[in-house]
């Protein structure tokens, strides 16, 4: 029973290490990058990614872009109402776009995981909360840390089940 507990706890610990690997180290896959073009509209206080050619309807649902690890991402950033910015966590990209302009932002999605992009040009009261998400799939940090959570919980509960004498 002790063995079972140590096994579960060990896997739980791996859950912590996996996202560190995903977030800290840049693991660039060695294939020719596939280009992923996304039109990104910004308006107070959210981002709307559109597929090329898709008309803009004010759906304002999730400002979430999903790309695959290692793809070359080309964003065509536009502003609908007033000037907005685009700061991408982990890439140091910071651009400003005014209505009428199109700003093209290119980068290679070198790390898996979720990276937020934020408005960097004050655009109104909720400006600090104007946030979108770039999800580089497979989202290893999320999956591994979620597994980590489950094993961690198992380890804690298991302490009371399996290590009765020592609890």
């Amino acid at each position: 029973m002790r063995g079972a507990w140590f096994l579960v706890s060990g896997i739980g610990l791996l859950g912590f290490i996996a996202p560190v690997v995903g977030l800290v180290f840049r693991l660039t896959p060695g294939r020719t990058p596939v280009v992923r073009e996304v039109e990104l509209l910004s308006q107070a206080f959210h981002y709307d990614p559109l597929q090329p050619g898709e008309a803009h309807t004010r759906h304002a649902l999730g400002g979430r872009i999903e790309v695959r690890w290692g793809e070359r991402v080309v964003l065509h950033l536009r502003a609908v109402d007033t000037a907005h910015g685009f700061y991408l966590d982990g890439y140091g990209i910071n651009r400003v776009v005014q209505p009428g302009e199109e700003v093209t932002i290119e980068f290679i999605a070198i790390r898996p995981g979720k990276f937020r992009f934020r408005c960097s040009e004050t655009c109104g009261p909720l400006h600090p909360f104007m946030i979108g998400e770039l999800v580089v799939t497979p989202n290893l940090p999320f999956y591994s840390s979620a597994l980590g959570t489950i094993f961690l919980a198992l380890a804690v509960v298991g302490r009371f089940w399996w290590l009765k004498g020592e609890a």
Binding site: D81, T82, A83, Q98, P99, G100, E101, E102, E121, T122, C123, G124
Partner: protein
Amino acid sequence: MGAMKGWEWLARGLVLSVLVGLPLSLWAADRVWNGSARWWIAQIPESGGWQPPTLEVQAGEEIRLRVTSADVVHGLSIPGLGISVTVEPGKVREIRLRPERPGRYRAICTVVCSPRHGEMIAELVVRPPGGGPIPEITAAPDGAFLFQTYCAACHGPQGEGKIGPPLNAAGRVPQMDEATLRAIIRQGRPGTAMPAWGDRLSSEEIEALIRFLRELSQEPSRP
């Protein structure tokens, strides 16, 4: 107990200095930084546009004009005085000017700040020193400045085109005659983002713009 009395008075003094002294010193600090300044605060037209809508000064008077934005990024341009600055929210830009010639100077926003951006117009009124009527300004308008003010946001700072078509040598301006250009500027292009400027620009200003467009479209590599 005697020692505590001293503490009590000290505490009262400290509380008083925080409640009264601190606001007073904030006021004093503001006098130091902003003492003689005139303010122009930019807001999108939906929230009221420029505040105040009309700023009155005396001719020959040295003015510290402090400009800021209460919401989003704007630009302030006073074509008649050769002023053009970007105005960012919560940041204060200072412009020093001494307008000599009395008149009404139009001030506009140069950054597309909202769907009603085009309505964001204010006026700087320069009164003659001894009072009396305010004359209309008759100086020849500067086409390059007008272009940067009104056109560059959509057509690009060098006329290279953005959401609007290019107006440099690569565009269709060289093939257009004066009347066509005049009509487009005056009436706009219905169905596109090009607004009608007829009610915002004087005929002199439109002619100056057309002259500048001719220059621009003849020089492929204008800086």
